[in-house]
Structures are given as C-alpha cells and as structure tokens.
C-alpha cells in the first residue's frame, strides 16, 4: 500500500547570527545552509498494517509523513501510496488517504462539528444519505452523541479530537496518516482513541501509519515500528526486537537478606546499583542462567526478578545521547 524508496528531503534554511550585526549581515547577504531532514529512507507497508513511526522532535517523522501525503515534494527518491505518486495530489489519491494532526484542527471553531462534517461530505461528493449513515456509524464507535451539535469551541479536548477523527474518516480512506492523534489527551481519552483506531483497522482493513510520543499508543496498536533518527531509518521491525537491539542486556533485580558490598558482584554482569539489600544488575542474555544460578548459590536471596528494560526509557536514552 505504501512503498518508499531512497526518499530524501533537503531544506534550505537561512543561517543568521544573533544580534544587530548578525541581523544586518543577514539582511545584506543571506547565507543559506542545506539541512537534510530525511535521508535515503526506504520501507514498504502492506495493506491493513498498523505501523508506528518513532523519533525525537526534529528527527524527520513529520517531514516523511507529509511527503507520503503529498504535501511536500521530495528532494529525491520514490514514493507510491495507494498506487499514486502523492505529490501529484490526484483527486483519486486524496479520496483514499487522510491526515489527522493532533495539534491542528480542521473543524470550524464557531460551529458544531456537524456543520464541518456536512462541508466535508459535499467536498468529497458523499450523498446526504451515505453521509448520515457513516456519521451515525462512526459516532457510535467514537461514543459521540450530542457533542456533534454543540459548537466546537465548547467541546473538551478529548471530544474535539474524536470529532476531528470523525471528520477525517468520513470519506472512508484506505490509508490513515496519524500525527500525534492523542497529543494532550488524558489517559482515559487516549485509551478510547486507541481502542477506536484498533477497531477501525479491524473493521475496514485500513492501513495506518501513526506517530506518537506516547509509547503506550505504539505498544497497544503497532506490531511493527519504524524508528527514524536524524533523518535516517534506524529500525524497521517488531518493537521487542528494537528493544533487544538497543539494549541487549536483561535487568536482574535482587533483594538480599543482608547487605553485601558492591565488590561481591564482580564478574556477575554490570552493576547498576547496590544499596542496602537491593541490587540491580545488567546481564547478557546468554549468561543469564549461569549468573542467576551463581547469585542464588552465593547469596541469601529473598526475591529475584528478571526484566527487559522499559522500551521508552531505552529510546529516550538513545535520543538523549544522540548516537545510534
């Protein structure tokens, strides 16, 4: 459904030094610098897949998403979405995709969502009867009722987001591009949006590409994850494989009957912390059984736990360090 090959986007940005001198210099002789927002990215997404798109702010997620929608012309590379080249923005292509942006809204601020829905129905050429049926179906799924006839400015953020989703899905698109659809929502509203997206994908077989800063969105919805870092595609595959790639070690947490010095754990993996009776170690997976056996043998262990490090912590670390 989505094929991307060697996709790149280079922006020209003005380079300006701070202060009056810099401003004058910038005014007299403009200096530009090329910034590579996306570099040589390739992937394919099959029909019906739900794929998470991860990356820090400025990693190139939104730029890629906008090239897939046809909003931005790629600098190099090929994109085919639903059999079309997005940048041509052919009406047949536009009828098959939708873009939802968590921080921007298309609903008319002063009017109830129903008015915006009627505008969208006319623009997409949906008959009044079909529009009515689809609105009632989708509003059932989204648990929207009288909110549809209340001015948008009087709705809560969660209700507004659900109405935005309804407006974006009225024309039954095959491909959904969702850019932070749960941004700013409370935990309950996030969960409802998530459940809706999963249901919608199941019912319609739509292809979904989702970016989010909330790891819970990704873990709940997307079996497959693309991680983009500084414009490059760093990972394409299941989320747990990303975890093992980022941090191959397992976490071992020990609770001992009596405090033991840090030196006692030499040769038993990497020691994260050791205070009083609680000890945290990182151990290579192939050494895990041997190390656990030795620990149980040498110390009086009250409790022992083996975990994968939390994925959002790992990705957070990756972004902070800025190295891949």
């Amino acid at each position: 459904m989505i094929e991307v090959e060697s996709l790149s986007k280079i922006y020209r940005v003005a380079d300006k030094q701070p202060g009056l001198g810099g401003t004058l210099q910038h005014f007299m002789r403009r200096r530009h610098r090329d910034v590579c927002a996306v570099s040589n990215v390739s992937f394919t997404i099959a029909r019906g897949e739900m794929v998470g798109f991860l990356g820090a702010n400025g990693a190139g997620k939104t730029t890629t998403l906008k090239m897939l929608c046809g909003l931005i012309y790629p600098s190099a590379g090929q994109v085919v979405v639903a059999g079309h080249q997005p940048q041509k923005r052919h009406p047949d292509f536009l009828r098959r995709i939708t873009l939802v942006m968590g921080q921007k809204q298309q609903l008319l601020w002063d009017l109830p969502p129903m008015d915006s829905l009627r505008v969208n129905a006319a623009v997409y050429g949906i008959s009044d009867r079909d529009a009515k049926r689809r609105i009632s179906e989708l509003s059932d799924l989204l648990e929207l009722g009288e909110e549809l006839t209340r001015p948008v400015r009087k709705l809560s953020l969660g209700q507004r987001m659900k109405a935005e989703l309804l407006a974006a899905l009225l024309h039954q698109p095959d491909v959904l591009f969702l850019d932070e659809p749960t941004l700013g929502l409370d935990v309950n509203a996030q969960a409802r949006v998530r459940k809706f997206l999963a249901d919608y994908n199941q019912r319609t077989g739509a292809t979904v590409l989702l970016t989010s800063h909330y790891m819970a969105d990704i873990t709940a919805l997307c079996p497959r994850v693309l991680l983009i870092h500084q414009g490059n595609l760093f990972h394409d595959g299941p989320l747990d494989r990303l975890a093992s790639r980022l941090a191959p070690e397992r976490h071992v947490r020990l609770e001992l009957a009596a405090p033991v010095g840090a030196e006692a754990f030499a040769g038993l993996g990497r020691l994260d912390s050791c205070c009083d009776c609680e000890v945290n170690l990182r151990v290579q997976p192939d050494e895990l059984t041997a190390v656990v056996a030795q620990l149980l043998d040498r110390f009086e262990v009250r409790d022992l736990e083996v975990n994968d490090p939390p994925i959002d912590q790992l990705i957070g670390e990756l972004f902070r360090q800025g190295k891949v």
């Binding site: 906008k66 923005r89 921080q103 921007k104 505008v119 006319a122 623009v123 997409y124 050429g125």
Partner: protein
C-alpha cells in the same frame, strides 16, 4: 461540477452561520459600511460637485464611476478580503495542509470558502448609484448594452481578484503579506475617480500596469456609450490574462510549499 455547487452552498451556509454567532459584530459591520459610503460620496462631491467637471466628466457621470467602485469594494468586502486574508493564516498555522488534502481545487476552496454578507448592501448601493447616475447623465441602454456592462464589471472583478490572489499566494514564501494587500486596496481606491481626472503618467500606469481603468472607468464608459471597442477587448484580454497568471503562479507556489512545522 454539481459537487462544486453543493460545496459552495455549504461553504457559504457555514460562513454565514459562523458570523451570526456574534450578533453585535454583524450590526457594527453594517453601520461601518453605511458610514464609509457616505464618506466617499462626500469626497466625490468636493471634487466634482453639481455643475463642475473634471477631466471631461460631469458630476453625474463621475457618480457612475463611484458606483462601480462601490460595487467592486463591496465584492472585495464580501469575498476577497475574508477569503484571501485567511490564506496567510492557513500558511502560518499549517492548516493549509487540510485544504491541500481535499479532493477539490485548492484555489476554489481558498477563494470562495467564506463570505461576509456585510459587503452585500455595498454592492446593492453601488448598483443603485450606477443606475441613478446613468439616468441623470441621460444614458439609455439596450438589453445588449446592459449585458456588455455586466461583462465588463465581471472582467474588472476578475482583474481585481487575480491581483489580490497573486499577492496572497506569495505568503507561501513570505508568510506576512498584509502590507502588500493594503497597497492594493489603496490602488483600488484610485478607481473612485475617472482615469481622465489623473495626470497623463498616472493615466498610463492605471491603464496598462495596474489596470485600475478597467475596474471602474471602462464600465462607466460603456454605460455612457463612449467606450471604444478595442478598450473592451483589451479589458477582457487582461482579465483572462491575469486570471491565468494567478492560477499558474499558485501551482508554482505550491511546489515550494514546505508546510508549517508541527
């Protein structure tokens, strides 16, 4: 085509509904329209006054020009200003993305998405002024003549729209184009008076460079039966030319659209 008509109906329905949400605003706008018309009639009376003439135009003839100016200014208030000034907002806030992703011509959407009915009385008053001025100046028009007047008015409207849209389209690069549209409004204001009332260099400028003459003076000449056929063709040609240029420029601008960052 039917889809476009239906969309337009819904566009304007929602636009009017949005404005009626704020009742006092509607009243204030209507008062402002009335006052601005009175003000421009007063200005005109200073220059032309009954019995006086300027550049070969009598008071009643000049009233026809003022009438066409009022009609065009009304069109600008009704359609151009509300729609084309929102292009800048769309670009700055990134909501242009939503427009570009609709399977409908983006220029159609951006040019006709909203309507401000407060400008409609101005159009009606302008037409009344044209009819009254024409009657007093002794003009008599056949139905065919009326059709030519309306055609030239349409051409004038198209020229104004295309110029405005061209400027608004540059917001893809510059984002702020408010000042440029103010200059355009000032130029339009020069169309209140017959072009003949201006010195020769300005006359040339207003005919060939910024075709203000075709907005008001030429339709008035048609009413008075003094328009030359080549001028009419030139007016129609310019209207089509400017429109095609504005459209091509819009497509060119979209290729350079980088979308606001999130």
């Amino acid at each position: 085509m039917r889809r476009y008509f239906k969309s337009l109906r819904r566009f304007w329905g929602t636009a009017v509904a949005s404005q009626l949400e704020y009742q006092l605003n509607v009243v204030i706008e209507l008062v402002a329209v009335g006052l601005s018309l009175l003000g421009s009639l007063f200005m005109l009376s200073l220059f032309f006054g009954p019995g006086r003439a300027l550049g070969g135009w009598s008071w009643h003839e000049a009233l026809i020009v003022q009438g066409f100016y009022t009609v065009l200014d009304g069109m600008a208030s009704t359609w151009l200003r509300p729609n084309l000034s929102s292009i800048v907002t769309h670009v700055r806030e990134g909501t242009l993305d939503f427009v570009l992703l609709k399977p409908i011509d983006s220029q159609f959407w951006l040019s006709l998405r909203t309507i401000s009915p407060a400008g409609l009385p101005e159009i009606a008053l302008g037409l009344l002024l044209v009819i009254w001025g024409g009657h007093q100046a002794g003009a008599s028009l056949s139905p065919g003549g009326i059709a030519v007047v309306l055609l030239m008015l349409l051409a004038g409207g198209l020229i104004l729209y295309s110029l405005w849209f061209l400027i608004a389209a540059t917001s893809i690069w510059f984002v702020k184009t408010w000042n440029a549209t103010e200059v355009l409004r000032a130029v339009l204001a020069s169309g209140r008076y017959p072009v003949a009332a201006y010195p020769a260099p300005l006359r040339l400028l207003f005919t060939l460079v910024i075709p203000v003459a075709f907005l008001t003076t030429v339709p008035a000449e048609v009413v008075l039966g003094r328009a030359s056929t080549p001028m009419l063709w030139l007016g129609l040609g310019l209207a089509v030319g400017f429109f095609v240029a504005a459209r091509q420029f819009w497509f060119y601008a979209l290729r350079h659209y980088t979308s606001a960052s999130s």
